[in-house]
């Protein structure tokens, strides 16, 4: 399914422009709650998800707008979810941190760090027990690797040889805590390899490098039937959430990483290779911007759920013997 660089570029730009608008809408108080932006990390979701088939499953975190968009979930449904509208991808119940979409096998949207990992193992177990050859891709930050659920999950996946692709999005900060201040071993692939899981790291700022690493990782999961661990070295350009004053990172560090902006790297390469000129890039940007405009218009025009339905969906209503 490998898309070419222009379309990978376009996917990244869709995420970037969507989230930039989310930040504005948050400041304008159209969106509330916690909003965790993926800006700077777009190459990771785009590079990996491009290598999955529609049959494969995705488990993501609370920083998952990019994964949802890369998976092909309609932007207006994602934006409507940010607004809490019934037209939202989770019917407004979840908000920014809890995007779900059954037809895409998109299992959230988990806002407990490492909470999605056991679920990914279980999805893969169900595939194994029902003889389905599918991959479950599980995204999490490096902060999750300090949680017991990471260790329990990767051990189970390795022990039972389950087809899980563990994708660690190492953006170097677990909220405000730097990797070296939270992990005794900062080489994360080494940690994962202790579970007898093939593990390696890749450049999460370069969408082509990311795509190639994901191609190899997904193929290995499919061929071996067992788990693979991929560390994507990346960086978030924005604060942890819209609440975060970002006092724990040096401005120089952020600037250094911004020089490796995945979107700039891709656009420079497109021009260098003669695949696109500035005019074509501008046309994509205009196109993406109008998609965002339309998504905002749809969300603005959306409807709020009736309070009478507050308790709907808590349970399915039980069963009789």
């Amino acid at each position: 399914m490998m898309a070419d660089l222009p379309s990978l570029y376009r996917q990244m730009l869709r995420i970037r422009r969507f989230e930039e608008r989310c930040a504005e809408l948050y400041s304008g108080e159209r969106i509330r709650g916690f909003v965790h932006l993926y800006i700077g990390e777009e190459a990771v979701a785009v590079g990996v998800i491009d290598r999955l088939t529609p049959d494969d499953a995705i488990v993501a975190t609370y920083r998952e707008h990019g994964h949802a968009l890369a998976r092909g979930i309609a932007m207006d449904a994602v934006m409507s979810e940010m607004y809490g509208r019934t037209q939202g991808v989770s019917h407004g119940r979840g908000g920014s941190m809890h995007l779900f979409h059954a037809p895409s096998r998109f299992y959230g949207g988990n806002a407990i760090v490492a909470g999605g990992l056991p679920l990914a193992v279980g999805l893969a177990l169900a595939d194994r027990m029902q003889d389905r050859e599918r991959v479950t891709a599980c995204f999490f930050g490096e902060g999750a690797m300090a949680e017991g659920e990471f260790h329990e999950s990767i051990n189970l996946a390795a022990l039972w040889r389950l087809p899980v692709l563990f994708v660690c999005e190492n953006n170097l900060y677990a909220m405000g805590t730097a990797l070296a201040r939270s992990e005794s071993e900062t080489n994360l692939a080494v940690k994962a390899a202790a579970y007898e899981v093939p593990s390696w790291s890749c450049d999460g700022m370069d969408v082509e490098a990311m795509s190639h690493a994901a191609e190899r990782a997904v193929a290995l999961v499919r061929d071996s039937g067992g788990p693979v661990f991929l560390e994507a070295r990346t960086f978030r350009f924005r604060a942890h959430s819209m609440y975060d004053p970002d006092r724990y990172r040096e401005r120089e560090e952020i600037e250094r990483w911004r020089e490796r902006d995945p979107i700039t790297i891709a656009s420079t390469r497109l021009i260098e290779r003669g695949l696109m000129d500035q005019e074509a890039l501008d046309a994509i940007d205009a196109d993406v911007t109008s998609e965002v405009d339309a998504a905002v218009a749809a969300a603005e025009a959306g409807t709020d759920e009736d309070v009478a339905d507050l308790e709907r969906h808590v349970t399915s209503g039980g069963v009789r013997p």
Binding site: F100, A102, L119, G122, L123, M129, E152, L156, V314, G318
Partner: protein
Amino acid sequence: MTVMPDVQVLSFRDAVREGIRDAMRRDERVFLMGEDVGRYGGGFGVSLGLLEEFGEERVRDTPLSESGFVGAGIGAALGGMRPIVEIMTVNFSLLALDQILNTAATLRHMSGGQFNVPLVIRMTTGAGRQLAAQHSHSLEGFYAHIPGLRVVSPATVEDGFGMLATALEDPDPVVIFEHGSLYNEKGELPQPAAPVDIDFARVRRGGDDLTLITHGGSLRLCLTAADQLAADGISAEVIDLRTLRPLDDQTVMASVARTHRAVVVDEGWRSVGMSAEVAARVAEECFYDLDAPVGRVASVEVPIPYPRHLEQAALPSVERVVAAAERAVGRRG
């Protein structure tokens, strides 16, 4: 010609095992997973022999990773399986509380109804075996607090067998509490053994003077207390709640409206527990029918101690139930 007996007498442990066996024979999607459920035969011997019949894929020993394997159960349920996850004791279930509360109970609502979790979790609960402070608690009230879960507490052999099949049909997560003192208890299983509802409380003994409301491991002592009260001329009705979430208010209130007196008996701690919830509901819904304050018999608020005399002093007992009943009917000050 042999006549088939219409009841089979077996232990609660055997009844639960037969329930699991029956479910696994009927439905390929059902499998059992947990610590020592396979080769060991289950921490309390419930799954003895199932590995030999169903194999390692379907009777799956797990590492000591409660959060990991409960979460894997959630994922497997989402993936079309019907997992039965055994957690050795309720105390260990706290290691999986994130998965149970933040994912299993939440997913359906949080996803706008897209993902329901047909998972069954079984765990042992309760004290009485001198297992001290980390193996003896009754945390049913913790779980019954959580919207999105169904919580059941079988007290009889029939429910030990029959609740599981119905729980497996439920599209949502069901937590089954098995009181450790019940496993060796024998009882009658009507034949052919069949699934039972997991919605309604049941009147286990009829009576007119007061209603004893209980569940799980405390049912026996309430029935014994009712015998003693009867000898003293007090007619106690005994209600087995069976399902702790959602509570069957109707059965409880219908009884209390008739007897005008209620005592709630629960092995959990008194404060903020099952007994508090039931007593509050009786007060809300039956206030004008009551002839006496709602009584409660619950565990004393201590981590359960090891020595037998102290453990017994901490737990509901026949004597305490009788005393509470006598207070309710005005025989004691």
